[in-house]
């Protein structure tokens, strides 16, 4: 590492997940293994095979208490609401000023989204058009459906004036947003970035996945049992929504402000398997996954032996054993030297574009609180996984242990990979 290399640290966290509406609730849920997956009766009425999912239980009262009046009362897109809640929480957590009113080109924001305009709010928006009454759309249908809409509404609150953009890269969107923010700070272009992602929820987003037969359809009577990453009986992912946000800034800036530092972003990598050599729209090219993980470690100037926890993508599909195989091949460690492996998806399902940022928030929480959360519903480990990973590295309950580092990856449609290495900050 050159002496002049900037260091980037995490000083703020915010989250809205199906099992917790803020960092405190989410931390408690991770520690105690609380599932946020429920059955939604309306999905049965419209013939969904998978009738379970994770929706953050944001009430009108919660919005009124935590958001500006206009957004709380008038904005209906859940992806926008979740991003405003998590982004605002992270910004406040970092102790930064809201709407400072001064121009600062070095402070910006990346809030990615997946299918922002397909949140269930559109049922109120689309029908008037087909009835010849589009004038009833009002002024909010454009910002509530554009991909940059969540960030646009959030920045209406925060008033940041540097680079403001919204990435969209399927299931790696969240981790890619954080990696992009890190690289912008590392390069000196930015000093401070709010990074995160969001996904709404409901039948218009989930229907396409159900049609692909990639969702879990065998647990409608036991919703909390549906998401079973790494299990012998994994049968498809459980769809969900939510948002995570992290404040990244230079170490110098954080120290100067006297900010609480949670973790350091050591490095990362993002790449694609090109939908070649085993890769496709829906599967990863293993060569690219292995290179993404190894390259992330190289960029972090860390060795596989130094990693204490893998926070995997691990969606609870038949792809989980392949993912574990890629991790093992990339890290090149003896079986008994492998780190812990977990994923919050057993509790919250797969938040699609929201997943990466929510799971990175979970990673930071585990670093700062000193635990490894359990994987729910993992009574029977998939045989291809137990062959290469010791059982005690796949905890089913929370383990108190002072982990120092996490490697986090997400893999997405279009054969996209993103991997980030975090290290605990010790004063």
């Amino acid at each position: 590492m050159s002496q002049n290399k900037r260091r980037v640290v995490i000083t703020g966290l915010g989250v809205v997940a199906p099992n917790g509406l803020n960092v405190n609730e989410f931390t408690h849920a991770l520690k105690t293994g609380v599932s946020g997956i429920k059955r939604w009766e309306n999905l049965e009425e419209i013939n969904f095979k998978c009738q379970i999912g994770g929706k953050p239980p944001v009430s009108q009262e919660y919005k009124d208490a935590n958001l500006p009046d206009f957004i709380a009362k008038k904005v209906k897109n859940n992806a926008v609401i979740y991003a405003c809640l998590s982004g605002l929480e992270a910004w406040k957590d970092a102790g930064l000023e809201i709407a400072p009113g001064t121009y600062d080109r070095k402070t910006g924001m990346i809030i990615g989204s997946g299918a922002l305009g397909l949140d269930s709010f559109i049922e109120h928006k689309i029908y008037p058009i087909d009835k010849g009454n589009h004038r009833r759309l009002g002024s909010r249908s454009v910002p509530e459906s554009m991909s940059s809409g969540a960030g646009a509404y959030l920045n209406g609150i925060l008033g940041l004036t540097g680079r403001i953009f919204s990435n969209s890269s399927a299931c790696i969107t969240g981790s890619e947003a954080i990696l992009q923010g890190y690289e912008l700070i590392l390069s000196g272009r930015m000093d401070r970035m709010l990074c995160g992602s969001t996904e709404g929820d409901g039948r218009y987003i989930w229907g396409g996945f159900d049609a692909m037969r990639v969702l879990c359809s065998d647990s409608n009577d036991h919703p909390e049992r549906g998401s079973r990453p790494m299990s012998a009986s994994s049968s498809g992912f459980v769809p969900s929504g939510g948002s995570g946000a992290l404040v990244l800034e230079t170490l110098d800036s954080a120290l100067k402000r006297g900010a609480t530092i949670y973790a350091e972003v050591m490095g990362g990598e993002v790449n694609s398997g090109g939908q070649q050599n085993g890769g496709s729209m829906t599967a990863q090219n293993p060569e690219a996954v292995v290179d993404c993980i190894q390259s992330a470690l190289d960029n972090a100037s860390m060795k596989a032996e130094e990693i204490d926890l893998i926070s995997g993508h691990l969606t609870s599909t038949k792809g989980d054993p392949y993912e574990i195989n890629n991790w093992v091949n990339a890290l090149r460690l003896d079986k008994d030297r492998l780190p812990f492996i977990n994923t919050p998806k057993s509790m919250i399902g797969h938040c699609v574009a929201g997943a990466g940022s929510i799971e990175l928030v979970a990673s930071v929480i585990q670093l700062k609180e000193g635990f490894v959360h359990g994987n729910l519903n993992l009574e029977e480990i998939h045989p291809q996984i137990s062959e290469i990973v010791p059982q005690d590295k796949l905890p089913t309950q929370s383990v108190d242990t002072d982990i120092q580092s996490v490697i986090k990856a997400n893999f997405g449609f279009g054969d996209l990979n993103c991997c980030i290495v975090l290290k605990k900050w010790n004063d």
Binding site: P68, D69, F70, K74, R136, G138, S139, R140
Partner: protein
Amino acid sequence: MTNMNREEIKKELLEIIDPYIDEKEVTVSVSEQSDLINDLNINSAHLVDIVLDIEEKFDIMIEDDFIGKMDTVGSALDIIEEKLNS
């Protein structure tokens, strides 16, 4: 709805526009002369939303021509009264 007096309509109207006002401190001094954009600092893009909310609340239809004339609280009340009585 049609037998509402102007004060009753004003009360409903102020409830409708309240969420569109960022700075709540301006609401204490709202009068019929208050300009929606310049005095109450309502984003001009939200005027169409306020019109839609008025239409829903009072079950009336306000044509685009009227939206341009709706600059103050008083003119909005005039338009609502006219529509309710027509």
